[in-house]
């Protein structure tokens, strides 16, 4: 009798474990489908004939590469892509350089006004700067920067500085000071300590920051739409939207092809740097 109960109990444990496993996998698979489905639709539409109207998952052909050809011959897509790349690369290089220097300084040096200016960074970082659109417009008009890449680049660089300086400082703080001190005892100067000792240890965070700075201009629609006027000066986010902005004449296939060409390289970069993310995130998150 006791034996029977035991078996029954074991059976119910087994059953409940099976149920748990089943539900877990069911959830994960459904979520995976929900994620892949829209991405797959866009991907497939890119290879459909350009007169396709429906935006659905449809495995029946015919397949073609015409959309990509069309993009680079009959639209300004190539120019937009080039503009965005130039802005992104300059934003990335300058912003990473500036915030690395500032973050290092705030982590390693004591100087008059340090606490004060750190608080200043913190408050400035909370201001939603993109809402100051009109001010940027007037400033651009005054400086002759409207419709120019350099002006937009400056705005992207500046906007990210306060927040990212904080994140960099937080990450520099995780590198023990003992390293600096022993290097100093060995006669290393300021620059050597910075470049040879500390920098290699913060590479993950720099990689993450570089990626974010690079992706920023690709993802921004609002500022670019507002400050750029000439068709040939647009960034790719603004340009791409024009393919589908007219409800009566949506070129979904062309849009999809353009979307893929943006998403692929950024995705690749993202997954390439992904291993750094968790460390960067938790270190930054803990510090706020």
């Amino acid at each position: 009798m006791a034996e029977q109960i035991k078996i029954k109990k074991a059976g119910s444990i087994k059953r409940s474990r099976f149920l748990k496993h089943f539900l877990t996998y069911l959830y994960l698979v459904i979520l995976a489908v929900i994620i892949i489905y829209p991405l797959l639709i866009t991907t497939m539409t890119a290879f459909k004939r350009s007169d396709v109207v429906a935006f659905t998952l449809d495995f029946s052909g015919p397949w073609t590469l015409n959309n990509f050809k069309e993009l680079f011959t009959n639209t300004l897509y190539g120019t937009w892509y080039g503009n965005t790349l130039v802005i992104s690369i300059f934003t990335m290089i300058i912003q990473v350089a500036v915030i690395t220097l500032a973050g290092y300084t705030y982590s390693r040096y004591n100087f008059v006004g340090k606490k004060w200016s750190l608080t200043f960074f913190l408050v400035v970082q909370m201001v939603p700067t993109m809402a100051a659109l009109t001010a940027y417009y007037v400033l651009g008009m005054l400086l002759g920067g409207l419709d120019h890449d350099w002006f937009l680049t400056l705005i992207y660089i500046g906007g990210g500085i306060p927040m990212n300086t904080w994140l960099m400082k937080g990450y520099f703080d995780t590198v023990p000071y003992d390293f600096d001190e022993s290097a100093k005892l060995d006669g290393a100067g300021n620059f050597t300590i910075f470049w040879k000792i500390v920098m290699p240890l913060v590479k993950p965070m720099i990689a993450v920051q570089a990626l974010w700075a690079f992706m920023g201009p690709f993802g921004d629609y609002m500022t670019a739409r507002y400050l750029l006027r000439e068709e040939s000066n647009l960034t790719v986010a603004v340009g791409l939207q024009e393919f589908i902005s007219d409800p009566k004449d949506q070129q979904v296939a062309l849009f999809a092809a353009g979307a893929i060409l943006i998403a692929l390289p950024i995705c690749a970069l993202f997954f390439f740097l992904q291993r750094y993310f968790v460390t960067g995130l938790t270190a930054g998150g803990a510090k706020g």
């Binding site: 994620i35 939603p128 009109t134 001010a135 943006i262 998150g285």
Partner: protein
């Protein structure tokens, strides 16, 4: 050696440089006096006019550009503030250096010595200098100009240089809250902004945490594949997916109405009718919240996964021995660990969505329909600002007033969180 009087030196430095001369620092004295003279000359040649322009905003329409005058004036105010800080530092320097000399400490006197001490002591300032210059021009100046603009009548009737702009005090705020048409719009937009922020952010956080906890169970095979798939929404630039979704939710040709709903109807006992995602305000809002959940959960998922992997297994084993249920383990071990690290990040999700322009504007243009004042049914404050400053009848002053309200809200929330975060660190 004769003793210096620090107080007297400070008084001398009311004319910058004099106190430093008295301290025997000829080089520093020259530089300080030079800066002072430069500022005085700048003030006479340019500054006084700029400040006056800021007050009048121009007197002759067609000749004076009110907005340029405002920007120049603001820049002059910033410059003056920086000078005042320098001036204060100069006073303190004269006093402190005299005290140092009295204590018999070495101080740099010649240009060469000064140069050396700047290289040593000024290193931090040199390294942060680019950050400050960039911030002044791309953040501080625009923010102050926006602040000032909120108190002017800058709109489609007053476009410089053809016509002048003037100060109108709190009129814009008065219009916003007292004028029935704008008040109705503001209330409608603000109400939806709050609902949107709460629902979308909470959805992405709950989804992210839940998925991380579920996907982190030991028995799961193919964790890596799931991990890559769950990262995709984050890896693909958001504007690309939002535009794709706006096609997918298209009423007549989109995949949801054409494919997903018929597919679900095969399995469900009830028949779901086609839904007007793009033309019915309610369904647009539902779609927006779902899409933001889709877009935003991977970030939380990655963060929480990292935290989960850092929790010691011993804790769970000990809890199991003590007979704790899964739910108890989650509530008493997992959740506190997650919140301890990720709580600030969670709150930033709310402030982010509060100003999440892209999804609102790119999905359905803030539409459908119209709630007055140029705003559509799914417009949030930030996209309303955008519409107020574009279109055929721009209202820059009013838009700036809304910007101020937004900024005040975001800053208050962030400050409250920061205080909490500090508390976390103190523990």
């Amino acid at each position: 050696m004769e003793k210096l009087d620090p107080k007297k030196n400070m008084w001398l430095s009311l004319l910058p440089g004099l106190g430093q001369f008295k301290n025997g620092q000829k080089a520093k004295g020259c530089i300080f006096l030079g800066i002072f003279l430069l500022f005085v000359i700048e003030m006479i040649v340019f500054g006084a006019g700029a400040l006056k322009g800021l007050v009048t905003l121009g007197t002759v329409a067609g000749r004076d550009h009110s907005m340029f005058l405002m920007v120049r004036g603001t820049l002059q105010v910033l410059l003056t503030v920086i000078f005042v800080i320098f001036y204060g530092a100069n006073l303190l320097d004269a006093k402190h250096t005299a005290e140092k000399i009295n204590q018999g400490k070495d101080i740099p006197k010649t240009f060469k010595e000064l140069g050396q001490s700047i290289v040593e002591g000024g290193f931090p300032y040199l390294l942060t200098f680019p950050a400050y210059i960039l911030m002044i021009f791309t953040i501080i100046l625009p923010v102050f100009v926006t602040l000032l603009m909120a108190f002017t009548n800058y709109d489609f009737n007053h476009i410089p240089p053809a016509s002048l702009i003037s100060w109108i005090g709190l009129q814009n705020f008065h219009d916003m809250f007292m004028l029935s048409s704008y008040r109705a719009t503001f209330n409608a937009v603000f109400g939806w902004t709050v609902i949107w922020t709460l629902c979308a952010s909470t959805l992405q956080i709950v989804l992210g945490v839940f998925t991380a906890v579920v996907a982190n169970q030991d028995f799961i095979k193919g964790k890596k594949i799931f991990g890559i798939i769950f990262l995709l929404p984050w890896a693909v630039p958001a504007f690309v997916t939002i535009m794709s979704f706006s096609n997918i939710f298209n009423d007549s040709a989109g995949a949801i109405n054409v494919q997903v709903i018929p597919f679900l109807n095969h399995f469900l006992p009830v028949n779901i009718p086609q839904i007007s995602w793009m033309t019915d305000p309610f369904w647009t809002k539902v779609a927006l919240i779902m899409i933001q959940g889709w877009l935003g959960f991977p970030y939380i998922y990655v963060l929480v996964t990292g935290i989960l992997q850092s929790i010691s297994q011993d804790l769970y084993e000990a809890a199991t021995i003590d007979g704790a249920t899964s739910l108890q383990k989650f509530n008493h071990i997992t959740l506190p660990a997650i919140l301890g690290v990720a709580a600030p990040t969670f709150v930033t999700q709310y402030t982010f969505n509060f100003n999440n322009f892209s999804i609102i504007y790119l999905f359905n243009n803030g539409g459908p329909g119209d709630v007055g004042g140029g705003a559509g049914n799914s417009d949030i404050l930030i996209s309303w600002i955008y519409k107020l400053t574009t279109g055929t009848t721009p209202q820059y002053g009013l838009a700036s007033a809304v910007t101020l309200i937004i900024s005040a809200i975001v800053i208050c929330v962030s400050l409250a969180v920061f205080k909490k975060t500090r508390a976390f660190e103190m523990d």
